[in-house]
Amino acid sequence: MTTPLLQVQDLEVTFATRRGAVAALRGASFALDPGEVLGLVGESGSGKSVTALAAMGLLDKAGRVTRGSIHFDGRDITRAGAGVLRPMRGAAFSMIFQNPRAALNPIRSVGAQVADALRAHRDLSARAARDQALALLEQVRIRNAGQRLEAFPHELSGGMCQRVMIAMAIACAPRLIIADEPTTGLDVTTQKAVMDLLAGLTRERGMAMLLITHDLGLAAQYCDRVAVMEQGRVVEEAPPAALFGAPGHAYTRRLVAACPTPSSTIASLSPDGELPAEPVARAPLPAGTPLLLEVRDLVKTYPGGVAAVDKVSFTMKPGESLGLVGESGSGKSTISRLVTRLIDATGGEVIFDGHSVSDIPARDFHAAPQRSQIQIVFQDAGESLNPRFSAFDSIADPLRRLRGLRDGSELTKRVKDCAVSVGLPLPLLDRFPHQLSGGQRARVGIARAVSVDPKLLVLDEPTAALDVSVQAVVLQLLERLRREKGLAYLFVSHDLNVVRMLCDRMIVLRNGQVVEEGDSQRIFRAPQADYTAELIAAIPHFEPLAA
């Protein structure tokens, strides 16, 4: 039996906070053999990143290893000082971080940064370092590497920055690469390219990789083995096929179920959730029903002449749910704000319920009768709640403004009704956003939007910032609300699977233009446009457990 390259045993890491010591890792154990790719999956707070940082010796000052050990290649580095670790970092093991643009020094050219990585461990002349940096950039398939050498991070795309980061990580040929959510925040197509590159490089060079991710599909696709973490422990560890095919641990089972796959339905995401597992059947609307929303040739040009939305047209019937899908920069969020009348369009028309609402300037729309009819749920629930409003005030605000309710029993009753309908426990109404969990915040955001009984609810990536298990619950909530209240949804998302489950029809957007439009299931099964097909192909996936 070979010595594991990285062995983590019973690791406990605690952070000193003002509420005393808080354990982030509570006895995590796993091992990684040379050349192996191990996936570390789990939801936020499970301790994935802390594990990586602890292994690198990069925990910040408040964090401390209180128990257990970390061995690298048989050598105990658990409490090694900077003198031992510094020569190892980059040379023996290196790390790739999420948010690649922030991880690079903004005022240093990428060439110099790659050269820094080289010269940290090798005695190279500036010229030689530069040449090697150039070679590295070429190896990570950066086009025109010679020119990019002098470029600064802000001049490169996110994917490009991550390639530079990879170049830095492999510069001194380490035996282990720790990739901490390396593609979070990147578009699916970019994600695929970066991951393919990373996987290829590690394979070619015989490097081991610890891939930390929240995306089960990603782990399934690129890892030899996957370890599932929950609350600071590794609860299950197995090859991906076994793990996702027949999860042993209850938590793994729940996690796998909540993960949207091509075959999952809203109900199947959370089997013990609030929706019965029966397929959703929708009665077709009688012919001749007037349209709820009609968008004609909508154009939004930002200063600088870039058209974020370029002649987009679509219609929605009452009670219908329409998905807007696209990668970043496709204009989907801009459309959501245009429809919600938060910003003014440069051209085109928005007709709501038979009335043109695009004539009313956004600044005056708060007083328009349609204001209460069109409501919106934002992407990041935490960021979309006024930090100085309690949950009650957040939900009550539209009731006060749009329904003219004064403080009193009527208002309290309406707020409480709303809270009940979104499943928010009433005692939480007095809490402030930072005292609520992500799922609770999402519920408050939804409650605020539905409190005034809108006809159209615009959902701008309402689950993008949530863990999958929470996402599952929120999606079920949304589906239930739609059935109960007969709301029309304009659902904006980058996640095709989610859109497929929730929406009747979908529109695929690219660079502000409509690429494809049609029935969700149909598009998913048989995309007409190449771009749509590419998008669908890029979604990392695993074979769901045979239920």
Partner: protein, 343 residues
Amino acid sequence: MRKLQAIGRRIGGRLLSSVPAILGVVILTFLLMRVLPGDPAVFFASGPSAGQQEIEDLRKQMGLDQPVPVQLVRYLQDIATGNLGRSMTTGQPVLTDMQQRLPASLELTFSALFLALACALPLGILAALRPGSAVDHVVRFLCTLGVCMPTFVSGLLLIYAFYYLLGWAPDPTGRIDIFASAPPEITGFLLFDFAVTGDLEGFRAAFSQLILPACTMALFVLAPLARMTRASMLAVLGSDFIRTARSIGLAPWRVILVYALRNALLPVLTIAGIVFSTMLGANVLVEKVFSWPGVASYALDALLASDYAPVQGFVLLMATIFVLVNLLVDILYGLADPRIAAE
């Protein structure tokens, strides 16, 4: 080349866009001076036997008999032709006075800023490396101590201690020892002029005259600079790319100096620019206390005498310097931070 062009365009644009601000300053000062209740003609005609006629004559001579809009137009015309008027207090053209006095103020302010930065940067970095430690608290306390003393008090105390009691400093009466010979006028910056002419003795003399007032001013700006250094260093040290730098095994000093400090200096540069402009205008009291023949004390005397021209000239000068310093900071910032230059 492209970069240089971009910078050139930015300079042009900035200068152009600052014209309205400067014009605003000029007009506002002009009106403010006209609101001053003192009548300069009365003040300056106050010889032991001046009568009403003399006051009237003086008023005419100063153009004060015209209505204010006419005066303003004339004043603007004068400025356009480079004529800032004549000071009644010194009897000289304002432009001449300023030319003589500006180097004194600039030299003092530069030295003070240099001194302050030389102290504030290490202190700020030290505090940022150990936030919350005793070092941090001591640094903060010392810097704050400097800012909480009015400059005229710290100036007088320094004089009392180092000149009167200890006799270490030369008499606080201007830029060089009154009995020493002045250097040839090259730039008006004495330290520079002495250095260029190789007069070390003179350099030492000028330096020893400069040190107390420069310290007084530096004390006052130490706190904001150190505070900003600490804050921006802390922010940078906590950012992702520092972690990256550490993860590739860079030496700690390299991480701090090349990665952290260079990034942290950017906001400090902005603050230093602001501090410089404010210091130049605000060292009125220091100049007074140290008999420093600078522009600020010149303006103060003129203001108290309702002598319009020097005050107007001074404010115009300060506004111009403010714009230029901001521009310089901008250019430096653009050079140091590629993100800005690209915009």
